[in-house]
Symmetry: C2
Subunit: 191 residues, 2 copies
DNA sequence: TTATTTTTATTGAACGCTCAATTAATAAAA
DNA sequence: TTTTATTAATTGAGCGTTCAATAAAAATAA
């Protein structure tokens, strides 16, 4: 039962945070969405905080695996960069409510050490994924710079899309802009 | 007394949200920081929500005026673009805690109509400020594209700096990157 | 098999706490 | 004195957590 319930509760948490915000999300709003009692949360996660953290870890690993599913050994560096961008914009398409949840958690990470740790893992991973791909296309310094800039561009486009409550098409548009930008970095610095 | 107390309470709110987050901020944490009693908040702002919204409006107009203070009629388009970037990164220097507060508010804006309205005002203003300056340096379509991209770049660099709990130097570094990027857009599309 | 015990899974009411808001009291100013 | 500004105490709603009770499932014994 345990794995079933855990997933049930994590998905209910994503929905609740997307709908009501982290502030408005209570143990009741979650358990109601999951169709379970409120007591079960403490039973499986030790408390509300434990469930929140488990939910962030769940989102993080979703992102990780959606990238890993695409990339193989024969994937070209440029193609790999495109996959990284797609993965970062993809969660939207899978679950339209995930992006709002994501931003809520990042805002909270400023005041919660464990969330901040997880946020750092995510931020560094985006950077190093980008950097290692760029590295195959240009010198080390340029690759670092390109990774820093494109990480910011991806996050910025994503942030503006989320905050303006964009629809799927606008997210697609942002994704295209990010891809174009990465291509322009390659032709600018590329060997 | 009223204007004095209002400013006192707004500044205490900024501090409290920066320190404790929007979740952790209570009328007690605010009034304590302001050295006043909790009842005074309802008296001057009608309640906590009113104070929160007044604080966002305060931050918004700070940003607006810090830009207006720099720009004159004789400011060149390129210089004006640099001032826009400086203004967006500048709140950090004035008050080191302001940036965290901003992000907290923007996250909350997804679930609060009035905050969302204010967030939109801000986002649109950044875009149109950029666009009108770019327009003097390139054709209309390029200017729109350049404004969209540089708005995202500014927000992305800013977001990553805030979330990684950067110090002032790292913020300065991000500001420099944003400026360089805008310059590269000018030389790329510029007439 | 059937009956009995034990374990596991789940509930929801009760508890203590914290919050925002209100209120009556008080102090200061006009 | 009347008005304005402020406090401090109080209220009631809502929160997360706990926990005794229960139901369902599994294991054991007859």
């Amino acid at each position: 039962m345990e794995p079933v319930r855990r997933e049930q509760l994590i998905k209910a948490t994503i929905e609740s945070v997307a709908e009501l915000g982290l502030q408005g999300t209570t143990i009741n709003s979650i358990s109601k969405k999951a169709g379970l009692s409120s007591g079960i949360i403490s039973h499986y996660f030790g408390g509300k905080q434990g469930l929140i953290e488990a939910t962030v870890r769940y989102l993080l690993s979703s992102l990780k695996y959606s990238l890993m599913a695409q990339v193989t050994e024969s994937t070209s560096p440029e193609q790999r960069l495109m996959y990284i961008i797609e993965a970062n914009f993809a969660l939207v398409q899978q679950r339209k409510d995930t992006t709002r949840t994501w931003l809520s958690f990042w805002a909270q990470s400023m005041h919660d050490p464990e969330l901040h740790r997880l946020q750092n893992v995510n931020s560094k991973r985006l950077y190093s994924n980008l950097a290692s791909s760029f590295r195959q296309l240009m010198n080390a310094d340029s690759a670092k710079r390109a990774a820093e800039l494109s990480a910011a561009m991806i996050d910025g486009l994503w942030l503006r899309a989320v905050l303006s409550q964009s629809d799927k098409d606008q997210f697609k548009h942002s994704e295209q802009l990010a891809k174009q930008y990465v291509r322009s970095l390659i032709s600018q610095y590329g060997a």
